[in-house]
């Protein structure tokens, strides 16, 4: 308190005046806290997100336009060169095509199998409680382990697959599942479908169980065949959740990496390179970080329209 204000203070105000001043400030702070309490609670999370997501994202934009390569000193500005390198790299093109083909094939197979399983399991039957966890188990495994497991099953000459097929078919089977097209694609799709079909199954089962029995009873009264019931009642009603499952799976499938890394190493040649594998190799094996970052942005931009379409379609029934 300055001298003038002290002089203005009434005699005897002393201690109680200071106390009132303190409590007044406390009151202002308290009011501010009350007013912004919600903001204060979310602030730590916001700071974390900014530090861990937004900052790296902005930083990666800077990396796109400079030389950030472990093997080349300095961070000189290079304009669009990194994007040009990524676009003109023939391996990147192959990886992109592979990503589209493989992720589409995987998600389609998983959707069909998941739907069939869900339809089969929607009605209670004896032993369902035992069968269901067994179906779901692969979902909890690490993709790297899944890759290793399928790699060992399919590897020649020690994997059992060719032997079992030879016994079943009655003639020698000599398929190189991991090193010959089209078998290597099939192997990758199979391994991924084995792990992720349960995801589709669980989501679709939840969707199917939410459909009212009355609709099926009404269908029966109208004489609808099982096919009609499936296509006219089940499928339309489960469609929103089906789209949700496809959107989630597609988002994940385009990042396919672990299974490729373990089972085929991207080979033979660049036959099974996916976008994630390509970006990993450029970024973290060769340490051309700028090129890998530019490639990641291009990949992100290419992915956005697909996901946007899916999300819009997903939201349409809700809006209606």
């Amino acid at each position: 308190m300055n001298q003038q204000r002290a002089a203005e203070a009434p005699a005897g105000a002393g201690v109680s005046g200071r106390s009132r001043g303190k409590s007044g400030r406390r009151g202002v702070v308290s009011a501010w806290v009350d007013q912004h309490f919600g903001v204060l609670l979310v602030l730590p999370a916001v700071i974390l997100i900014v530090l861990l997501s937004a900052y790296p994202l902005v930083y990666s934009l800077w990396v796109d336009f400079v030389n950030y390569d472990f093997q080349i000193p300095g961070h000189a500005f290079v304009g669009l060169q990194n994007f040009k390198d990524a676009i003109l790299d023939p391996v990147a093109g192959t990886a992109l095509v592979n990503t589209v083909v493989l992720s589409s094939a995987m998600v389609a197979l998983e959707l069909v199998l998941g739907l069939l399983l869900a339809v089969a399991m929607v009605r209670p039957f004896r032993g369902r409680g035992i069968v269901m966890p067994i179906f779901i188990m692969p979902l909890f495994m690490s993709p790297a382990i899944v890759g290793q497991f399928w790699g060992l099953l399919l590897q020649r000459p020690f994997g059992p697959t060719d032997y079992v097929l030879s016994q079943v078919l009655g003639h020698p089977v000599t398929i190189s599942w991991l090193t010959e097209a089209p078998w290597n694609y099939l192997a990758v799709v199979l391994a991924d479908a084995w792990q992720w079909t349960p995801f589709m199954f669980v989501i679709l089962l939840a969707g199917l169980t939410s459909i009212s029995h009355e609709l099926y009873e009404a269908g029966q009264l109208d004489g609808a065949s099982p096919w009609h019931t499936f296509f006219k009642i089940t499928l339309p009603l489960v469609a929103p959740i089906l789209l949700l499952a496809v959107a989630f799976r597609l988002l994940d499938a385009v990042k396919l990496f672990d299974i490729i890394y373990i089972m085929t190493g991207g080979g033979p040649g660049t036959d099974t390179y996916t976008a994630a594998f390509y970006l990993y190799e450029r970024g973290f094996q060769e340490f051309h970080l700028s090129q890998a970052t530019a490639g990641s942005w291009i990949f992100l931009i290419l992915t956005i329209p697909v996901i946007t379409v899916l999300v819009r379609r997903l939201l349409r029934p809700e809006a209606a």
């Binding site: 390198d85 590897q155 000459p157 991991l178 010959e180 080979g267 094996q285």
Partner: protein
């Protein structure tokens, strides 16, 4: 954390939980809630270091594991006793003794050391780590990394400036990139201060020069990964096969001297003995390094050069490249079914099961063939050898086998424990200690010192061990090296893609052309001038090309 502090924490959390409930019910003020929360966070900040301190104590205690020792009357046990004596009693000018004495003064440091995960990491966990701690009081954390990550993780940590590692186990071919990138530091000052430089002359000359780059020493060599030919004496020497071969080709069936002869012999054996025995098995799986080592080895044996030394244009697409693919494709054809799926371990499995007459691979093949390695449970992922006593050793066809990978221990730039780290590197690679490490049954460390090749203890491990060690030495005299220059990782990955594309049916010329284009792009990216300088330096290394080996330079070592 002590019992008391646990009790306090429980009581505090219970109180806080009550406050949260009260606040949700509206029974308490937001201020009280926030005060309590702040107290908890403060408490956590205080207990954190306490927990950390007690964890660190546990880590130290866990670090003080017992050294795994062999019975003292075995060759390995004798080598282990000798290593401890050399470290504690001397000779006092020995590198092991000097390292231990100097390191005792640095007690308190903890070393973070990278090793390839699996068997390579077992050695410092069971032997050298605890032994070093027992001698000096300096513990170490063994950080296991898959092989490709041994290159990429240190770079990532360097970029992040984390100080995560003190010592790196790296391929010599990575030295230029890691040295230029500031990841590792030269050790010349430490060497002149602590090492008995006579120990440098105990390295086989091939390995002595390997850790040098731009006139400096960037580590200590620690794993002689010399590829050699391993063959079945009973098959090659079989009189009926000998007769049939002579009748077919007009020449004696013998250990192949050239790559063309190798394919021919392999195909002949497959034609005669398959499916019981095949001529060969190769390490051709995509993404594992077999293709790159095999290609650069044969390419140079066929007279190929990597680059035009003036323009630095890749020379892969050449008659030597085409010839190499002809030979390698012929080898694949003569191999066990599923050849293109094989990694090094699968190749060993085929070999140890007696399914194959010839393979070329790394030195553990010799130890496994005699079941020496399999006495350790750690190596039970390969079967017991069914070919004990039947295996012969020879230099590679074409005479110039690849020194494929190998390991150098390098000191991390900016290590907070640089001196202690260097001293460990010196001790662990010193002649008596490194002898133990290359003799451990489960080890994948292979002999690299002249004292290893000459060691009576090693030579007594199995009847043909002398022949094995002499072959390793002779092969090193004639060896060619991986391409030790910046960008090797890029060039090597490109070779792997090229090879596997050809195995999958792509035209060899087209694959060579594409790989040459990729090499040119890498060279352009890294700078033609810089790469030209680096290539000139590489060509000066003994073993860069078949006309410039240890033997052609007159430095070859003769052993009997």
């Amino acid at each position: 954390m002590s019992d008391g502090s646990k009790r306090d924490e429980r009581a505090f959390l219970k109180g806080l939980s009550g406050d949260v409930d009260a606040w949700l019910r509206g029974d308490t003020s937001r201020r009280t809630f926030l005060t309590r929360l702040a107290q908890l966070m403060g408490g956590a900040a205080l207990t954190g270091p306490i927990v950390g301190m007690s964890s660190a104590g546990r880590a130290s205690a866990a670090g003080a594991v017992k050294v795994e020792l062999a019975p003292p009357d075995t060759p390995l046990g004798k080598a282990q006793v000798a290593a401890v004596e050399a470290s504690t009693k001397g000779p006092t000018d020995g590198s092991a003794y000097r390292a231990v004495q100097a390191a005792k003064k640095l007690k308190g440091a903890t070393l973070n050391v990278t090793y390839e995960s699996g068997l390579q990491a077992l050695e410092p966990k069971n032997y050298s780590g605890p032994q070093w701690q027992e001698l000096t009081g300096i513990p170490q954390n063994v950080i296991e990394l898959p092989h490709p990550d041994q290159y990429s993780k240190p770079i990532a940590e360097h970029i992040a400036n984390s100080g995560a590692y003190d010592i790196l186990d790296i391929e010599p071919a990575w030295i230029p990139s890691l040295a230029n990138g500031g990841v590792i530091q030269p050790i010349d000052e430490f060497v002149s201060k602590y090492m008995n430089t006579a120990d440098l002359d105990d390295y086989h000359p091939l390995y002595k020069y390997l850790p040098t780059y731009k006139g400096k020493r960037w580590g200590v060599f620690d794993d002689g990964d010399q590829l050699c030919l391993y063959y079945r004496k009973d098959v090659i020497g079989d009189p009926k096969l000998q007769q049939a071969y002579k009748a077919k080709y007009g020449q004696a069936l013998r250990v192949p001297q050239s790559w063309d002869e190798y394919s021919q012999v392999a195909q002949f054996i497959t034609d005669q003995l398959a499916p019981k025995v095949y001529g060969t098995a190769n390490f051709r799986k995509a993404g594992s390094p077999g293709n790159q080592f095999a290609f650069v080895q044969e390419f140079r044996a066929n007279g190929g050069a990597f680059f035009d030394p003036q323009t630095m244009k890749a020379q892969l697409n050449s008659p030597a490249g085409l010839k190499t693919f002809e030979q390698m494709t012929a080898q694949n054809k003569a191999s066990v079914p599923g050849n293109n799926d094989l990694d090094a371990v699968a190749q060993w499995v085929a070999w140890l099961q007696g399914k194959v007459a010839m393979i070329y691979s790394w030195p553990p093949t010799g130890r496994m063939s005699e079941n020496y390695s399999q006495r350790s449970k750690a190596i039970n992922f390969v079967p017991k050898s069914e070919i004990v006593g039947k295996v012969g050793y020879a230099p590679m066809p074409g005479g110039h086998g690849e020194m494929a990978s190998g390991y150098v221990k390098s000191l991390v730039a900016g290590s907070k424990n640089a001196e202690a780290a260097y001293l460990f590197m010196q001790w662990v690679t010193s002649p008596p200690v490194s002898l133990v490490r290359v003799m451990l049954p489960y080890t994948l460390r292979d002999p690299y010192r002249l004292s290893h090749y000459k060691s009576p203890l090693y030579r007594s491990l199995w009847p043909a061990a002398v022949e094995y060690l002499v072959t390793l030495n002779n092969s090193s005299n004639e060896a060619v090296l991986d391409m030790i220059m910046p960008g090797w990782q890029d060039y090597a990955l490109s070779v792997d893609r090229m090879c596997t594309a050809v195995w999958a049916g792509q035209d060899a010329k087209a694959a060579l052309q594409r790989a040459a284009g990729e090499w040119d792009a890498v060279t352009q990216k890294l700078g033609v001038e810089k790469q030209r300088d680096a290539y000139q330096q590489f060509m000066k290394l003994p073993g860069a090309y078949p006309d410039h080996t240890i033997a052609t330079m007159g430095l070859g070592v003769k052993l009997t």
